[in-house]
């Protein structure tokens, strides 16, 4: 038993460019083909229950601290290192392989017990192919920022992400930074030398970013874990960033209300 169709589907992935992302149009076309879709979904349904938590290791439940005890500093400008970052396509391939292996194992077990039990495929459960695909696409979507600009002092950090909102965290000794809004809840804090941002959203979606800076301070890893209540295992994507010095522009801009963004020249 093999998950035919899915591997070729995942191959439709833009390689050789600096953009890592899935060609979702192709995927959609594939899913709109009733025969292919039926086969894909059936195969996924068979094995999904069995691979609970085997696609990505479940994130360890970290005990977060409010203060930056190890004085880790993320400040600076960072650009994504596409070569070292996880390839979403490969991660998906990995899931499919896991699903395949498990499906084969279960099929073999099923065949052995067929005489007594009567056999049959296990279909259903909390995870479905579209939920898995949804979760993976979400992970890809929210980790696409190619540039980060991080400012940090003793009290707070702001991670400016291109194409997304800023991740912010205030450091309160002895307590975690928790911000609740009608749209979701943000929790952040330190887990040793790592800074952890958790985002709990409606619809059973939660996202965790774990930031780790390399010993030399030149590499930054952001491990993003997406959890969906409709999928029984989390999905993890690592994005690696390299420190860079932004070109000296010779000017500095600040926002003012009456004059908009005001830029002034500054000596180099």
């Amino acid at each position: 038993m093999r998950l035919k169709g899915l591997p070729s589907l995942w191959r439709n992935y833009q390689t050789g460019t600096r953009r890592y992302g899935l060609r979702w149009g192709t995927l959609r076309a594939h899913m709109q083909n009733p025969a292919k879709m039926s086969r894909t979904i059936s195969l996924l349904f068979v094995v999904v229950l069995a691979v609970c938590a085997c696609a990505s290791p479940a994130p360890k439940r970290a005990v977060l601290q409010g203060s930056n005890a190890q004085s880790v500093n993320f400040s600076g400008s960072w650009e994504m290192d596409y070569g070292q970052s996880d390839n979403t396509q490969e991660k998906l391939d990995s899931i499919v392989r896991e699903l395949n292996r498990d499906a084969q194992r279960r099929a073999a077990q099923s065949n052995m017990q067929q005489g007594a039990v009567g056999g049959g495929m296990m279909i259903g459960g909390p995870s479905s192919s579209s939920s898995i695909l949804g979760m993976v696409r979400m992970a890809d979507l929210i980790t696409q920022s190619p540039l980060l600009d991080i400012t940090q002092d003793t009290d707070k950090i702001r991670v400016k992400r291109e194409q997304d909102f800023d991740l912010t965290c205030e450091f309160f000794p002895g307590e975690l930074n928790r911000v609740e809004t009608p749209f979701g809840t943000e929790i952040c804090g330190w887990n040793g030398h790592q800074l952890v941002f958790k985002l709990l959203l409606p619809e059973g979606l939660s996202i965790q970013h774990v930031m780790t800076v390399g010993a030399a301070g030149q590499k930054l890893n952001i491990a993003t874990t997406v959890v969906s209540s409709q999928v029984s295992f989390p999905f993890l994507l690592n994005r690696v960033y390299n420190r860079f010095e932004p070109g000296q522009s010779g000017y500095k801009c600040e926002v003012t209300l009456t004059r908009g963004t005001v830029c002034t020249t500054e000596s180099r």
């Binding site: 479905s128 579209s130 939920s131 695909l133 949804g134 979760m135 696409r137 979400m138 979507l141 929210i142 997304d164 909102f165 800023d166 912010t168 205030e170 309160f172 930074n177 928790r178 911000v179 609740e180 809004t181 009608p182 749209f183 979701g184 985002l199 959203l201 409606p202 619809e203 059973g204 979606l205 996202i207 969906s228 209540s229 409709q230 999928v231 600040e254 926002v255 003012t256 209300l257 009456t258």
Partner: protein, 365 residues
């Protein structure tokens, strides 16, 4: 043969001389004001800069839409607006904005900013006279409509709130008889005197556990000690009026930028409300767990954060404009508060020491 006089002593003498001249002028003005106050049953009002109402728990600021630096500026701005309203009404004596509560004020007004943005203002206002009688303890709420923006200074979007506070204060004052108002003024003076020289003046007043003050007797009108107390009090008022001018200038200078900030805030809040109602009324576009449903959830959060962070950036823009302006008068908006509070306390201590030197009495504890 020349004796070198230390520069600090020269400065001190010049300062004392300047204060004395100003105090003399001020005394003349006070006498005329006092006379007309007596005639018209006016009451002097002390407006303490408001409590900005910033929760200690910083994690709630974002949820409550509180920008602490702006709240601190508002805490100085709003009493000035209320002062202008009271002065314009012509129903009151001298109206001062105080850096700290002056308990011996004839009428002391305090306020807490419960909520403030471009759409809604909520103030909790308390007013108490020198006898301890409560005049007001009430929440005032004002709302705006998009038509009030852009604001044409000096009109304030919440002028109706200040007008309502003034009207309520006036209604209480009108219930007081002339003798009651006269007693308030006398108790105010005796409270100030007993703070300055408790050994001499404490017996003129009795106070209850509930904080009510009753006049027991009055010193003779030509009592020299009382004259000294009045002189010291007027010198304190002189300092407060200097501070008061700075608050007024601060309010005048920050008004255009602040109004613009409130306008942006109102627009952002309108957008947020509309968005929330749209989301609430609309069913999820996709099946639960599907990419469409997850994306919809994430985007709702993402845009709410982007709007919040936009407003945050505007708040920084607000400070970028206000801070240098304040540097020209007496430091930034926030330095102004600290330095004036300290100066006021120091000034009061100096006055108490002068009084002790003049009278030979021990300084008040």
């Amino acid at each position: 043969m020349y004796h070198r006089i230390p520069l600090s002593i020269v400065r001190l003498h010049l300062s004392v001389l300047a204060v004395c001249v100003m105090a003399a002028v001020y005394l003349c003005l006070q006498v005329s004001v006092a006379q007309s106050s007596d005639d018209d049953n006016f009451v002097d009002v002390g407006l303490v800069i408001f409590d900005p109402g910033i929760p200690v728990d910083k994690s709630t600021h974002s949820k409550l839409g509180i920008f602490p630096e702006i709240r601190k500026a508002e805490a100085k701005y709003m009493p000035v607006m209320l002062r202008e309203t009271l002065i314009d009404s012509g129903d009151w004596g001298v109206v001062r904005v105080l850096p700290e509560p002056l308990e011996s004020s004839e009428l002391l007004v305090t306020g807490v900013i419960v909520h403030s943005d471009g759409q809604r203002l909520e103030l909790q206002i308390q007013a108490r006279d020198a006898t301890g009688a409560q005049w007001l303890d009430k929440a005032y709420i004002g709302t705006t409509t998009p038509s009030v923006y852009p604001v044409n200074v000096p009109v304030d979007p919440y002028s109706q709130v200040y007008a309502q506070i003034a009207a309520d204060l006036l209604a209480v004052r009108r219930q007081k008889s002339a003798s009651q108002l006269s007693e308030i003024r006398e108790v105010a003076l005796m409270r100030y005197a007993s703070e300055l020289a408790p050994e001499v003046f404490a017996s003129y007043l009795s106070s209850s556990a509930a904080g009510m003050y009753t006049l027991q007797r009055l010193p003779a009108s030509d009592d020299p000690m009382l004259a000294r107390v009045v002189r010291i009090r007027n010198q304190e008022y002189l300092f407060i009026d200097t501070v008061d001018e700075q608050y007024a200038r601060l309010a005048e200078e920050m008004a255009p930028t602040y109004n613009l900030w409130r306008q942006y805030g109102a627009e952002q809040a309108d957008y947020r409300d509309e968005y929330q109602s749209r989301v609430a009324s609309k069913t999820s576009q996709g099946r639960r767990g599907s990419f469409v449903a997850l994306e919809q959830t994430y985007n709702a959060y993402k845009w709410s954060k982007i709007h919040e962070q936009d407003l945050d950036e505007l708040a920084l823009g607000f400070n970028n404009e206000v801070a240098p302006t304040q540097m020209e008068v007496s430091g930034t908006v926030f330095k102004l508060s600290g330095s004036l509070d300290t100066q006021y306390i120091e000034w009061r201590e100096i006055l108490q020491r002068i009084f002790a030197l003049e009278t030979g009495l021990p300084p008040a504890p």
